[in-house]
């Protein structure tokens, strides 16, 4: 048995690595995915472009402008003079936000009246919009706080206030600290998830397609007339891709640590142990898909249809917390969810088995159930 198994594995490796382009395609996509995710997938709103429309043109309004410029969050790209220019800027996506200071801004502040600053936000991307509006209102609120102090001081010194004014007014200070990812980089959040994505893609898709290919080209019959037993064929078809998946994982983690300086606070051994638990699920699913597909295109489409929802519901990009309650229960059936929680815990939080055991248990159960069901089905198909 051992000998035959080795033969199949050898054949599979040779078949996969024979073609130079295929060799590249096994190891290049993970790296490219990592680079794209690391550099491009960024929900942080670093610099937003804004337009400034000043209809007051006074020292006060210029001070507000300085507050926006000095925040380091906004680049002033345009200074529209009228409403139609504002409309054009927002229509063409030139700016994320337009701040408009109405005439009489300074006068109102000096007289202690309330005045408004109009802020128009391009809501096309709701995520950027809510971050930008948060920044903008906090800049204006700071400006208002300072103006309030000045107002208070002026009233004190002028001694002509209609009622007494007191110097000691309380102030609230917000001190916030972000744990695990103090600079709030989305890279640190996404890169660990890519490891999961890559293991999933390499093992699930390649396994399913490699088996179906034999069927499609008709070489499966040839394999079946050899003394190879189904279990050996199954192992021989899955182990090489499991190995490729693990090598890719190591590769991606190395690049992530060296290039992106993503923190890794947990144990590498635990990560690989969990990866192997997770592999049982993906290889099992790959086998299962191969039993229900006749052509590679079918295999691919089926894989994709399963993979996509599992991936989207895993919490990789969209937090599970935000989903409707019923869908949140549904995500409990998503093995990816548990693996992503494990990987994020290991990378960012440095948690260990004490915290992660429920997820590991879930992965083990999924793996054993899926793998044994698929193996049974695979054998029946061959017999």
């Amino acid at each position: 048995m051992w000998e035959r198994l080795m033969e199949i594995i050898r054949k599979e490796f040779r078949q996969t690595f024979r073609e130079p382009r295929m060799r590249t395609m096994l190891f290049l996509p993970p790296i490219i995915q990592l680079l794209v995710f690391g550099y491009a997938v960024n929900l942080d709103v670093g610099h937003s472009s804004m337009a400034w429309m000043d209809q007051d043109r006074t020292p006060q309004s210029r001070e507000l402008l300085a507050a926006f410029e000095g925040s380091g969050r906004f680049d002033i790209r345009a200074t529209p003079a009228n409403d139609s220019e504002v409309q054009a800027l927002l229509d063409a996506n030139k700016v994320d936000m337009v701040v408009r200071v109405l005439p009489g801004f300074q006068r109102d502040i000096e007289r202690g009246r309330s005045t408004a600053v109009q802020i128009l936000i391009n809501g096309t991307n709701s995520n950027t919009a809510s971050i930008v509006s948060g920044y903008a209102s906090s800049i204006v609120a700071n400006f208002a706080g300072q103006a309030m102090q000045v107002q208070n001081r002026n009233l004190l010194t002028a001694r002509m206030a209609p009622a007494p004014v007191h110097p000691g007014v309380p102030q609230l200070n917000l001190q916030s600290r972000a744990w695990f990812n103090p600079d709030l980089l989305s890279r640190n959040y996404f890169v660990p998830g890519i490891v999961v994505n890559i293991i999933m893609q390499i093992t699930l898709m390649l396994t399913a397609m490699a088996i179906v290919r034999e069927k499609e080209i008709g070489t499966m019959e040839q394999l079946m007339v050899t003394p190879i037993r189904p279990i050996e064929l199954m192992l021989g078809k899955t182990l090489p891709f499991a190995l490729v998946g693990l090598v890719d994982t190591a590769l991606v983690i190395m690049v992530a640590l060296l290039l992106f300086h993503v923190p890794f606070r947990g144990s590498v051994l635990l990560l690989f142990a969990c990866a192997i638990l997770f592999l049982m699920t993906t290889l099992g699913a790959g086998l299962f898909i191969s039993t229900i597909s006749r052509t590679q295109q079918q295999a691919m489409m089926t894989t994709f249809l399963f993979f996509q929802p599992f991936f989207l519901l895993s919490g990789f990009a969209f937090p599970i917390r935000n989903m409707p309650q019923s869908i949140q229960y549904l995500t409990l059936l998503d093995p990816l969810r548990y693996f992503i929680e494990i990987v994020r815990g290991l990378f960012l939080k440095g948690t260990g088995v004490a915290v992660l055991w429920p997820q590991m248990l879930a992965l083990a159960i999924f793996g054993i159930v899926i793998l044994s069901l698929s193996a049974m089905r695979f054998r029946k198909r061959l017999d």
Partner: protein, 377 residues
């Protein structure tokens, strides 16, 4: 170029598509599944942030501060803790995102008219949620602080202070800031990318792999007719998918369609033509389906998903990646779709993006037929 041969190739390819019921069902179901997921389940909008309170002060003042958070729908207070340790544990398990700590001398300092601190500890792993949550918390504190100061003045018999400037924020185009409104139009682009990269990229590689290419070559069909014929068949599939997306988006998810339907149709055809040509180009290059699939994922699905500005905004990317994204046709299509759906603008604003699509489609189609001719020769 003969119409008869072209039609025959298209018909043969359509037969392939229709006969493979499962692939066809999947090709039509995939956009629906994606739309339903994105429309119902997936959102980046942040609310009900699970929060713990650690009130060291336990005074009426500190309770009033906490009530400010309790009153906001953005925060969901899950409980009060005594000490940092329980909050740390809960954060490790991702049970909470935020821990609000009120220091021991909070009320004393407030009553003395000094600066009082409020500490926020937040789980930063999901940086996006964290920064939005911090923004909300900041807004709650700032509003409350202004009120406190004014109250303090009044209590001491002074005149109330007025907040001199107050921001009036108005959001255009997507005024309730629903992420589905910008995701659904972008999803149309992504779905088409998938159809193009997954279906058309396999079509010629399959003929090579199964050996039927030789049979095709022995017929009088020319490379360009073969490319165009296969393209037409998948074009029909792609346009059906697009119609499904638009109908589901507009009627089920109530995404506003403010622009011209014809302009939408025209630009979609243009985009689809380019994307399919690219799939066929890959297919002509790769001789096995596995390789074609990998190349398709890498060159059209991934960039279509990540570099198109569909979810992740392009202007935040580093300059190099921005330059790369200029080569991704989906990027222009996403801008066009957002323009048509949310802003109701037409060719007058979008001519730049439309001409990029025209250039792309033309170049890739020529490249695909040339590659095909090379391979055949």
């Amino acid at each position: 170029m003969s119409w008869r041969r072209l039609k025959t190739v298209a018909k043969k390819e359509l037969l392939h598509i229709v006969r493979d019921v499962r692939s066809l069902t999947l090709a039509l179901a995939l956009p629906m599944v994606m739309l339903l997921l994105f429309g119902y389940a997936l959102t980046l909008d942040v609310d009900r942030i699970p929060t713990y309170i650690y009130d060291q002060d336990r005074t009426p003042q500190s309770r009033e501060l906490i009530d400010q958070f309790r009153g906001s729908t953005y925060f969901q207070i899950l409980g009060a803790v005594n000490g940092y340790r329980p909050a740390e544990l809960a954060m490790d398990k991702s049970a909470i995102l935020l821990d609000i700590v009120v220091p021991r001398d909070y009320a004393r300092r407030l009553l003395a008219g000094q600066e009082a601190d409020v500490q926020l500890l937040i789980d930063g792993s999901d940086s996006n949620t964290a920064s939005i949550a911090l923004g909300y918390a900041q807004a709650v504190i700032q509003t409350y602080a202004a009120q406190l100061r004014s109250d303090a003045q009044v209590r001491k018999g002074g005149q109330p202070l007025r907040v001199p400037v107050d921001p009036r924020i108005r959001v255009w185009y997507n005024s309730d800031l629903k992420s589905k409104n910008f995701i659904v139009p972008g999803l149309i682009a992504v779905t088409m990318m998938i159809i193009a990269s997954m279906l058309s990229s396999l079509t010629i590689a399959r003929e090579w792999e199964n050996g039927t290419m030789e049979q095709l070559l022995s017929t009088p069909v020319r490379p360009r007719e073969l490319v165009l014929g296969k393209l037409l068949a998948y074009f029909a599939l792609g346009i059906t998918d697009m119609l499904i997306c638009v109908i589901v988006g507009v009627f089920i998810f109530q995404v506003p369609l403010r622009g011209s339907v014809w302009f939408l149709f025209f630009t979609s055809c243009l985009f689809l033509f380019g994307a399919l040509s690219w799939g066929i180009f890959i297919s002509a290059t790769a001789r096995t389906q596995l390789l074609a699939f990998q190349m398709g994922m890498l060159s059209s699905f991934l960039p279509g998903y990540l570099l198109s500005g569909f979810i992740y905004s392009i202007q935040n990317m580093p300059k190099v990646i921005q330059a790369v994204s200029a080569l991704v046709p989906a990027r222009y299509f996403v801008i066009i779709l957002n323009g048509i759906f949310l802003k109701g603008v037409g060719l007058r604003v979008l001519w730049g993006e439309v001409s990029m699509l025209v250039v792309y489609a033309g170049l890739v189609f020529v490249a695909a037929s040339r590659k095909m001719r090379q391979k055949v020769a």
